[in-house]
């Protein structure tokens, strides 16, 4: 999958949840990726170096990897 697009999507989700506070935003971003992303999208972003991700999105993807 196109990594730039996935990064953009993950960052946008995180930015729209950021006002909940960092901890809640990470939880919510993680849950959103888990609930709505197809396995190949998750696999692609998990396989990336996550350099294009904002901190909340990166933390959410890190949790997805766990």
């Amino acid at each position: 999958m196109m990594l730039d697009r996935l990064n953009q999507m993950a960052n946008q989700i995180a930015r729209n949840l950021a006002m909940q506070g960092e901890a809640k935003a990470v939880d919510a971003t993680y849950q959103h990726l888990k609930d709505f992303w197809d396995p190949r999208m998750k696999a692609a972003i998990l396989a990336s170096d996550r350099a294009g991700l904002d901190p909340i999105a990166r933390a959410a993807v890190d949790r997805l990897a766990a």
Partner: protein, 948 residues
Amino acid sequence: MGYEPQTEFGTPEVLSDVAVTLTIDGRQVTVPAGTSVMRAAGSCGGSIPSLCATDSVEAFGSCRMCLVEIEGARGLPASCTTPVAEGMVVHTQTERLARVRKGVMELYISDHPLDCLTCSANNDCELQDTAAEVGLRDVRYGYDGANHLGAAIDASNPYFDFDPSKCIACSRCVRACDEVQGTLALTIDGRGFASKVSAGQADDNFLSSECVSCGACVAACPTATLQEKAVKELGKPERAVITTCAYCGVGCTFRAEMKGEQLVRMVPWKDGKANRGHSCVKGRFAWGYANHQDRILSPMIRDSIEDPWREVSWDEALTFTAGKLNAIKAQYGARALGGITSSRCTNEEVWLVQKLIRSGFGSNNVDTCARVCHSPTGYGLSKTFGTSAGTQDFDSVMDADVVLVIGANPTDGHPVFASRLKRRLRQGAKLIVIDPRRIDLVRSPHIEAAHHLALQPGTNVAVLTAIAHVIVTEGLADEAFVRERCDLDEYQDWARFVSDQRHSPEALEAVTRVPAAELRAAARLYATGGNGAIYYGLGVTEHSQGSSTVIAIANLAMATGNIGRRGVGVNPLRGQNNVQGSCDMGSFPHELPGYRHISDSATRELFEHDWGVALDAEPGLRIPNMLDAAIDGSFRALYVQGEDILQSDPNTHHVAAGLKAMDCVIVHDLFLNETANYAHVFLPGSTFLEKTGTFTNAERRIQMVRKVMEPANGGLEDWQVTQALANAMGLGWTYSDAGEIMDEIARLTPSFAGVSHARLDAEGSLQWPVNAAHPDGSPIMHEDGFVRGKGKFIVTDYVPTDEKTGPRFPLLLTTGRILSQYNVGAQTRRTENTVWHPEDLLEMHPTDAENRGLNDGDWVKLTSRTGETTLRVTVTDRVAPGVVYTTFHHPATQANVVTTEFSDWATNCPEYKVTAVQVMPSNGPSEWQETYASWSEKSRRITPVAAE
């Protein structure tokens, strides 16, 4: 049923808790107080002759045919304008009345053509019926005096004629336009003998006037004065079948009036609970596409999209398609296959398509056109209220005191609901409009919005947060409601957030461009004006913050206690006829029917047990992700039923690239649409007139669609085609009719548990949930508590879109639709509706036009970061400086060449409403338009089936 006119009571129904008993012609009758004597007589089987009365409009009392005798009363009162009274004794048939009525009738007929035998309304004419009823045999005055018999016919409207020589000046058409439609396009011009019905100004005809061709005047006319051209051409219908319109989400029900298998006319059904006997130009008249010469009636296949199409038998097409799908599945795995369901198709058809994808293809790669319209509604309302649906029925608006319309243009998009809304506004309800454009509702005859917040496109969340700020900081919230019905801690978090000074109207004015004082006044009105109802459309959802905006709307309704009773609520106005239903039927890739997540093992097991297959537990791809994955090579086959994603979805270049990359694209449709230019299989579809099933409208109302003619594609309804494809893949489905599919839906979907075709036939319609807790359905949601338990406040903040204006693209483009056209225009472009909208136009403010040297009607090049197209400009101050607007109804323009892939953060609903563009003069079509036109022509070549 055979052909019987609809029941007519003469005057509208009156609702009252007080019952009145009177005697009419010796029969006792009890009716609500305020009912007319005419209606009371009708309710007990009597019949009083009349010409100017009809139960769709208020009594007028002009024709003097409905006179009655009332014991103890002087003279002969008109029964249409006389209310019943307790103990009243009425006589409707006496010698005196007969004499007077015959005399009045004689005067009418003295200025009316005596051409009944050749008149198009012969045997369907109230004037003719009434003349017979009063026993008129002669006209003593002769026909040589002054008369109107030579008046010229106005045939300007493409669907109906106006023949003033047959007009009796009863004003029913004028009153229908005023009261039912609310356009006020007609009037009686002149006085006395010179009185005549006039559309618009003196030099107007019906076409050039403000008439919106809703057909209310035609339905109200008691003679052949206003009559459908189709009736004049084909004659009187011989049978009528009740069915549901296949256009917008209002879900009007109609009588399809037939002559054999020929549809003569569609007449709005007076008992329809969504439309209450009204219609718009599309549902009433724009059905000609059903038999248009462009329809493809034979299956077609080709190995490559470079090849011409080859007409084949159904067997060969299905074998070819199943072979391709099975081969792709074997080589690339189940997740390489997917499909798109259609909101124009029935619930039963959508159900089968998602079932085929989940149980046959073996993936959850199913999505629907709601992705690009109301997916944020599902997300936002399920998070806050617990249900992915609007909260009210349409009738509820008649109890609203303040109506807030945001991001919707009901007079164009949902015209029949708009007529109801305008009726309520004329009664005195207040209106707030939040929209970048000055939509017609802002100011039209007898309607004026109290506040129009003409916000900068893309700032919905900022405006709604500012409104919330005013409500909370000025102490206007309904805290008693919140304490009882909502999670208090979450409310307090939200209230603290919106109270911050940075969310004040003054602080946000620079972002929203809405004057702070105006916004404060609107907020106060919504919070304190009585029952507050919010209606919204795609101007809310089709943004990068579409879901946040839906949540912000829900927050406002909860904070002010405007939820859970009549007259209030949160009401998404759905775009297509079955958007609600297609979402209910499990068309989203992350959830099974009934909005249950695919990861929920209990729900999955329910379906696995019923369907006899294992289901994938992981969410599938959304439409834009399918296209991305196709370009990447991991998504190879797509089944598209009843949608045209190449024209309707954003960034046409990207959609084309995705489709081109696939090994097998199956288009199941009426026409060779734009998507079919990239398809390998074309399966001819059936129209709504050729199928049986159900649609679910914007008020969750499930209504029957009934077949009135055999499918022209060889006799297959769309659900039968899907079943045949499933069986070609080896699934062994055995549905014998659409009712069996609904039985399966009811068995597996809790909110549909009490629904069946038999019950819908008996009751007309049902609003889900229909189950043990709500056996008769649910007109109003959340009356005793939210579906999710406590209402959930969710903090939303304004996050600017990534789509920015700048020196290269200084204007913001927002897109939408107009009254006469529908979606990508596949249906309406193949009707006479093109007379009103033959091309897409670009609306531009005079200042912006002047800066570019543009005049009204000039050709312009519209350019964004993703592409460019050309179209003509119309200069208007309806849009603000810096904003341009167009529609997307015509493939020759293809507005979505310009729109971008930016989308809603939660649902990927495209950001159609905000695209940075430049507009410059142009002297010809864009390179893309020329290339695409050439490609399209090449792709549509058809090799006819070889003669045997």
